[in-house]
């Protein structure tokens, strides 16, 4: 594994987006992983539509019938992949632009830009997560965002951050090896995480979270998607 890696340098990541006051982070995490997989498969970086997921996806988790995708009231990335496989694919942002509110579904199958063929959950071992990131592309991640409301910059490595309470979906785009963490008395390797709260938040819209401690539960809900290049 390389010491550090960043898909942004390879052109596999679109600009930081803004979900607005709508609990649709799951849709942004989903489109980010599909945009990356599609870039790796075709060399083209497309900006994909979160609004199609917000308006049209009502898929429920197989094991937890209460965990259904419901627009601004939350969802799960793995539900969204399942919806896209069944719906036939996802449109681009241009053809189905984001409004930040749930509306009626306006999906047009003839406007599909990327088809999803499969998805998989990634092991919780962080070396495995790094290996799949390098080999497969940006990964969708769920984590506990407790410390993100006040985060401004630097490598976040909270002494206490509940690993079992996952409430936010983001995109893992890379990792770095340097980033000093005083309390762990060493140079902390960290994850580079793309958020969907606009560029003014965090480090130009990104979050750095220390690696190797399952910090804030970031290793418990990692998934990757496979696109179908027709």
């Amino acid at each position: 594994l390389p010491n550090s890696f960043d898909w942004r340098e390879k052109g596999a990541v679109t600009d930081v987006k803004m979900q607005g006051s709508c609990g649709s982070c799951w849709a942004f995490s989903t489109t980010g992983s599909i945009e990356g997989a599609n870039f790796i498969a075709t060399g083209k970086l497309l900006n994909l539509s979160e609004q199609q997921l917000v308006d049209c996806d009502n898929t429920c988790d197989k094991k937890d019938r209460k965990a259904c995708d419901s627009g601004c009231r939350g969802g799960l990335m793995t539900n969204a992949y399942k919806y896209l496989i069944e719906a036939g694919g996802i449109e681009e942002e241009d053809s189905y632009p984001y409004t930040g509110k749930r509306g009626e579904c306006k999906f047009s199958p003839d406007k599909v830009a990327v088809k999803v063929s499969n998805f998989t959950n990634i092991p919780i071992d962080e070396q495995q997560i790094a290996a799949y990131l390098v080999n497969h592309g940006p990964l969708a991640v769920g984590l506990n965002a407790l410390f993100m409301q006040t985060y401004i910059g630097g490598v976040s490595c909270p002494l206490i951050c509940g690993k079992r309470w996952i409430n936010h979906g983001v995109l893992l785009v890379g990792y770095g090896s340097k980033g000093f963490s005083i309390l762990r008395l060493s140079n902390q390797p960290y994850w580079i995480i793309k958020n969907s709260w606009g560029k003014r938040w965090g480090e130009n819209g990104y979050y750095k979270l220390c690696r190797g401690h399952g910090m804030c539960g970031m290793n418990t809900m990692v998934s990757a998607v496979m696109t179908q290049t027709s």
């Binding site: 006051s21 930040g100 709260w197």
Partner: protein
Amino acid sequence: AVPEEFKIRQVTDGRNPTTTAHGGSNHHLLGTPAEHRFKSFIQEYNKEYCTREEYINRLGVFVKNLLRAAEHQALDPTAVHGVTQFSDLTSEEFERMYMGVKGGDRTSLLREFGSHAPPMVVKD
């Protein structure tokens, strides 16, 4: 025009205008250094509050979030914590408006459905 997401909807429950929906009073914060900090926050993030009572209510939330940022800084010393564009939201509002993963309590890691990727060789 102020972007939609920066317009704060009124949350005070219309009882005594000097109290917030939680019954606390924030008048004592007026004229303090915290209010000055709040005013520069409003300017910096282009915030707008519909009524005076909403302003006073949000001032109270902002002061609480200043304390929270200090706590987070103590618990997370290698990052920088402070005032962000979300500093006038309670943590409940913030979670409802800006998050959205229905992950809940992840005691059973295998709750995810779908296949699980096989381990890759990562040594050397």
